[in-house]
């Protein structure tokens, strides 16, 4: 029986039939023809088989791991960039800027207040000791009492890098002569009220701070002319002592330097520390003076 559709028409419509792109009526007529025409049926099967084989051959698994990572990174960067410049980020940035400005102003105010407080405190405390003792005490209060200490103390080798090489042995002398349960927490040059110091700060096992402060003598400065109490007599020199509130001060001098051991401790402890440090320091300072 001759099919209604011509083979030429069936061949023309075959691809669209395979792709489901014929209308319902066309599909019905095509199916009727293909069912009755062996040649068109064979051609349809061949085309479908070829297409399936091509699909299988091309759709092999493909490794996109590396490419996927590249894309993730690129998208993330783009997302971050976009976030950075969106209106809400600008608003957030403005808010943060205001907050930081307010915070900075507050901090500046606090710093200014602290500086004023520090100066007032130092001035007040200093009134309780002789002029020559004030030299070292001011630096100790400025540099130890009003300092925030880092949680992790750097090693002495690192600390002394901030010192002039000729003064670095001071840290070594202190380290070698201070009690075993002390540690050096600062070794540097510092200044207060236009006066320069060499400063070694120590801390004992109880968290008490001590300072060794060296200052070059200015005109007329000496312990000898003071009425200070001699707490230690060393060969060729004396160590003088004074205290005010919680601060214990022991001092001695060389030709060019004033040296102080100051502690937030008892007189006994401070004098003991001064006694162990005084002789080697005197020797060192004498060597500097030639």
């Amino acid at each position: 029986m001759k099919p209604e559709m011509l083979c030429e028409t069936a061949l023309e419509q075959m691809d669209r039939f395979m792709d489901g792109a014929l209308s319902d009526a066309e599909t019905e007529r095509f199916a009727a023809h293909a069912g009755a025409c062996e040649k068109c049926q064979a051609e349809l099967e061949l085309r479908e088989r070829t297409r399936a084989s091509l699909r299988r051959a091309i759709r092999q698994p493909i490794d996109t791991t590396s490419l996927g990572q590249r894309i993730h990174a690129a998208v993330h960067v783009e997302a971050s960039r976009r976030f950075r410049w969106q209106p809400h980020t600008l608003a957030l940035a403005a808010t943060l800027l205001i907050a930081v400005s307010v915070g900075a102003a507050y901090q500046l105010r606090q710093l200014w207040s602290a500086a004023v407080d520090q100066d007032s405190y130092i001035a007040k405390i200093s009134e309780g000791v002789t002029t020559i003792m004030r030299v070292g005490l001011k630096d100790h209060i400025h540099c130890v009492t009003f300092r925030k200490w880092p949680k992790e103390t750097p090693k002495v080798d690192e600390l002394v890098t901030a010192m002039e090489p000729k003064y670095r042995p001071v840290a070594t002398i202190v380290g070698a002569n201070m009690p075993k349960n002390y540690e050096i927490v600062k070794a540097h040059h510092c200044a207060y009220r236009e006066r320069n110091y060499v400063h070694i700060a120590m801390k004992d096992a109880d968290g008490k701070y001590f300072s060794l402060v060296l200052a070059r003598k200015e005109a007329g400065e000496t312990f000898a002319s003071s009425s200070l109490r001699r707490v230690l007599d060393k060969p060729n020199f004396a160590v003088y002592g004074e205290n005010v509130e919680r601060f214990q001060i022991a001092g001695f001098e060389t030709r060019d330097y004033l040296a102080y051991v100051i502690g937030d401790t008892t007189t006994e402890n401070n004098t003991r520390l001064a006694g162990t440090l005084a002789a080697p320091l005197r020797e060192f300072l004498d060597s500097l003076e030639g």
Binding site: L6, C7, E8, T9, A10, L11, E12, M14, D15, R16, D19, G20, A21, K39, C40, E43, L46, R47, R49, T50, R51, S53, L54, R55, R56, A57, I58, R59, Q60, P61, I62, T64, L67, G68, R70, I71, H72, A74, V75, H76, E78, A79, R82, F83, Q86, P87, H88
Partner: protein, 196 residues
């Protein structure tokens, strides 16, 4: 109603922006293999294909706020990719030169020479690679990636009729090339072009 990605990514805090990234990951990234495979077949070089696919995803991310969640993300990505490929190889993939359906009937109304069943995958890949790039794209989109004509036309930016015409003629050429491969193997290839 579709939820537009842009509603969150354009004006919300960072944690919402991260959600847009995750949505992009969920909707777009599963099609990475398909896009890479198609690009590789079109570009003929995996490295260049990777560059194009990466650019595709970057462009997609930049316009993700215009993508309607729940619609055909795969077709959307393919459309972007073909735009990137056009940009990358404007001359090679100059699809605008596609002829309309004028020779459609002439090209397809004939029987195919016999093709044996046990050709290898490599034979099919080699036959496809002999098809010029712009024609190859239609075959890849419809026969391999199984896009309907409408989507393929949208992806390529051509009328549906052009897709149909080009597809049928390229399929025929492809089959004839496979038949030629069969001839190389010693299989009979006679009895061809027997019009009804």
């Amino acid at each position: 109603m579709y939820e537009r990605a842009g509603n969150t990514s354009a004006a919300m805090p960072m944690h919402i922006e991260m959600t847009a990234e995750r949505r992009f990951e969920k909707e777009a990234m599963p099609h990475l293999g398909d896009l890479t495979r198609t690009a590789s077949r079109l570009m003929g070089d995996r490295s260049r294909a990777d560059d194009v696919v990466q650019e595709t995803y970057l462009q997609a991310w930049k316009s993700f706020d215009r993508f309607e969640s729940g619609t055909n993300c795969r077709a959307w990505l393919y459309k972007i990719m073909f735009h990137c490929i056009h940009h990358y190889r404007r001359k090679w993939f100059r699809l605008a030169v596609m002829k309309p359906m004028d020779d459609y009937t002439e090209a397809t109304a004939s029987y195919t020479p016999p093709i044996p069943e046990h050709l290898t995958d490599e034979d099919f890949v080699a036959a496809l690679e002999k098809v010029p790039g712009d024609f190859r794209a239609v075959v890849l989109l419809v026969d391999v990636e199984e896009f309907p004509y409408k989507d393929a036309a949208d992806i390529l930016g051509v009328p549906i009729g052009t897709v149909m015409s080009r597809l049928s003629r390229r399929r025929k050429i492809l089959r004839e090339q496979l038949s030629g491969v069969a001839g190389d193997y010693g299989y009979p290839t006679s009895g061809k072009e027997a019009s009804a």
